[in-house]
Amino acid sequence: MVTVALWIIAGLLIIQLLLLGIMMIKKHRELQTIIRLKDLDAKLTTEFEAFIQGESPRHPRFPEKKELKVQLMEAILERNLEGADDLQAARIRQLAEASLSDEYRRRLQRGAWAKRINALYFIEDFKMFNLMDEVYTVTEESQKNQDEEFRQGLRAMAALQDRRVFELVEEHVALPVSLLKEIFQRLNIKAANYWFARFETHEDVPEHLLSAFISHCGDVKSSTYHSLVEKCLGDSRDEIRIKALKALSGYGEVVNKSLIVPFIQSEHWEERLMVAKLIGNANLNEFQKQMKTMMSDREWWVRFAAANALRKLDGGEALLRKMAESDKDPYAKDMAGRTLTTKWGLTS
């Protein structure tokens, strides 16, 4: 029995030693490739910069070996895309389309999971419109898994202005708002208009999409949809109203101020919190008194937001100082003290 046990151990050890040998050889080769890539990158970057700035009529000659070529092109093109002007970006994208399309098409059709996602990342960055159908196919196929491939596929579709992306996002109600916002960020105004025109009123838009859309409008301060965001303050869905208040905070502007008054005494603390933030961000000085009252709110977050809002309003700091010294409500007094002693804007 000892012999059998020892043989098993010896067998396992030999297998591991063989694996170790193979891994050492592989590692040696990989390290050599890394050094080669680094050298080539340094050399080709200089030549490529000359090409992209119009100093040289031709782009540098990338290595023939496919893996090497793709890796180098991805790195160099992506680096140069940052800070490139429109003309330079167009040249980079043209080169990417001409040189990388076949490889990315192959990866999307037959590549492993990670390779497909990597291809999607670069298709998005290089805006390779010629691969729009392949991107759609791979995204549609991956929707059952709802994993990174599906998410990146949606981002890439949006970047390529493929309007079929709306069909996919409308089907999946559990997609995170942050992802939906990323999609809206990538779409141009025409695509957004096309999508929004499909609904008669904002009440017809699915909640998850409308939440993301108005939130996005607030982030980019979209003047086209400012009135829509204000309209959403009257929406029957709690989440939409909160998102609308938050979006208006982003705008830093409210046209119809009467619409926000009911939120000051809302039964939902999230609404009271958001309206306080909005009042501060939009500098609505006429609400100073209400903010002072909200400093005694039962919810810590509302007191916190009201104090930060007060600080932004005219005469707010003086009022806070007075409250920190002598307010009867100890909670309001503490919060005023905290707001005055912490640095401006940080915790708002």
């Binding site: 029995m1 000892v2 046990a5 020892l6 098993i8 151990i9 396992l12 050890l13 591991q16 694996l19 170790l20 891994m23 050492m24 590692k27 040696h28 990989e30 390290l31 492993a112 999971w113 990670a114 390779k115 996602i117 990597n118 990342y121 670069f122 960055d125 990174e148 998410r151 981002r155 559990a174 997609l175 995170p176 708002v177 942050s178 992802l179 916002k181 990323e182 939130s215 982030d219 810590w300 007191r303 916190f304 920190a324 909670y331 503490d334 919060m335 003290g337 905290r338 707001t339 005055l340 002693t341 912490t342 640095k343 940080l346 915790t347």
Partner: protein, 476 residues
């Protein structure tokens, strides 16, 4: 007659231990098989592209980074400096000085020009008294709280009370985070639309690495065998164990060195338990418990990327202290949640995870101790059948050495962080020696830990720090 009876009893125990070790080895291999597809699938994923958009995304959840510190004068400034340069859109760093007796506070004050602020803190949990709060005049998002000594759990609870963001990260004051650590760790939470309630990342040992200006410049192996063995141990624990458990939503440990949590969930379960030394594991078990009690779909996830570097004990004394503390923490957690054990209500966690941590992680020390005892009795004193002792010896090598060498290969296969060829055979050969010296050593520490669990004395268990950042040393 009596001797024959003792020999028979020992031989029976020997067979039980052999079967136990084989069972545990198979279990490890099963976890390895479970972990492999995910590791393999994500191996070539472009991690940089994956998080690129998150840095400018307004929806990347803001995070409060909590740094509990007790007598951390050696490394606190370097750690905080590292945290201030993280690549993340919105976060605050809160250092909680848990009544340190050294110069932790003074060094923070001086390095970051801390100014007193008035507190208006929510009290989610009762804690030891907070005596002062400060904000940096240089870095707006850096705070320090002074409090009476109450242990790490209590310090973290104070940090949660003070924090303003919906998620928090807890990090040990002696650890260094990778620049993208927060982005990588929060990603599963964002992608799951909040369904992931806590995430942990792989922690690596920084001993031997070249660290300057709070950044790991060169990853290399340390010289001391004790430190190298801990590196191998971490590979085994993180790459084989945790990944396998995470894949099946049974993970019971998010390393105390670094983890990200949904604050609302932690508040609901009552925060950290300041009475245990294993507050990190105890919290995770309570989170699992509350998820199951609420019949929620939330889960805890582990990301395989190495995101945190920490200083491992470099002396036998500090290693012993650490292992005793770990073992005690584990024992206390298991005891406190014994009601979940084999309880079908808690599904996989109750039926598999908790029994695993009890019978494998906690009590394996006893089985291994008996194993070594039998080997000595058989091979050295010929007290029992040498054949049995021989089988035991072979199984111990399989259990302690071959599994560890396998984890070295797994690391090379996945992350290959060590940028030279020679590190690989060095790690491999050290792994093979594990059964002969390192394992018996840690087993003895764990046995002591088991006994000390009954004493219930609370302490921070800090080891003697050398500091892992070499910037100051070089300057000197």
């Amino acid at each position: 007659m009596n001797t024959a009876w003792i020999v028979a009893a020992l031989e029976t125990i020997a067979w039980i231990v052999v079967v136990y070790m084989l069972f545990v080895s198979v279990l490890y291999l099963t976890l390895f098989v479970i972990a492999t597809p995910k590791v393999r699938r994500e191996q070539k994923l472009n991690r940089q592209e994956q998080i690129e958009g998150m840095t400018v995304n307004k929806d990347t959840y803001p995070i409060s980074v909590l740094v509990p510190a007790y007598n951390e004068e050696v490394g606190i400034v370097a750690s905080v400096q590292s945290l201030l340069t993280l690549n993340y859109p919105q976060y605050e760093v809160i250092v909680i000085n848990d009544g340190s007796e050294d110069e932790t506070s003074e060094r923070m004050m001086k390095a970051f020009n801390m100014k007193p602020i008035t507190q208006a803190t929510r009290e989610h949990f009762e804690t030891k008294e907070v005596t002062a709060a400060y904000q940096s005049d240089i870095h707006d998002h850096l705070y320090m709280i002074e409090k009476e000594n109450g242990g790490k759990g209590d310090a973290l609870n104070v940090g949660i009370n003070f924090s303003t963001y919906p998620y928090f990260a807890s990090i040990d004051a002696d650890s260094i985070l990778e620049k993208d650590a927060l982005l990588k760790t929060i990603k599963p939470i964002i992608d799951s639309n909040g369904q992931v309630t806590a995430t942990g990342g792989t922690v690596r040992i920084a001993n031997g690495c070249e660290i300057e200006h709070s950044e790991v410049r060169t990853i290399s192996l340390p010289k001391k065998p004790l430190e190298i063995m801990q590196i191998i141990e971490y590979f085994r624990g993180f790459l084989i164990g945790r990944l396998g458990f995470s894949r099946t939503n049974m993970l019971l440990i998010v390393s105390g060195a670094f983890g990200v949590f949904e604050k609302g969930r932690v508040v609901r379960v009552g925060g950290y338990d300041s009475r245990t030394v294993g507050e990190d594991m105890e919290l995770i078990v309570r989170i699992h418990r509350s998820i199951k009690d609420e019949k929620s779909d939330q889960r805890i996830e582990y990301i395989q990327d190495p995101v945190c570097w920490t200083e491992a004990p470099s002396t036998f004394k500090s290693l012993k202290a650490q292992r005793i503390r770990w073992q005690r923490g584990l024992a206390e957690t298991v005891w406190r949640h014994k009601g979940m054990m084999f309880n079908p209500k808690y599904k996989r966690v109750g039926l598999f995870s908790l029994p695993y941590y009890t019978f494998v992680e906690l009590l394996s020390a006893i089985a291994e101790f008996l194993g070594y005892f039998i080997i000595i009795l058989g091979l050295v004193f010929a007290f029992i059948d040498p054949a049995i002792a021989g089988v035991m010896f072979a199984v111990t090598i399989l259990y302690a050495s071959l599994l560890s060498s396998l984890s070295v290969m797994l690391e090379e296969w996945t992350y290959h962080k060590y940028q030279d060829v020679k590190s690989l055979p060095i790690l491999f050969l050290y792994a093979l020696t594990e059964a002969f010296w390192y394992r018996p050593l840690t087993v003895s520490f764990r046995i002591v830990g088991l006994f000390s669990a009954f004493k219930r004395k609370r302490e921070w268990g800090n080891m003697e720090r050398k500091g892992i950042d070499q910037t100051e040393k070089k300057a000197v």
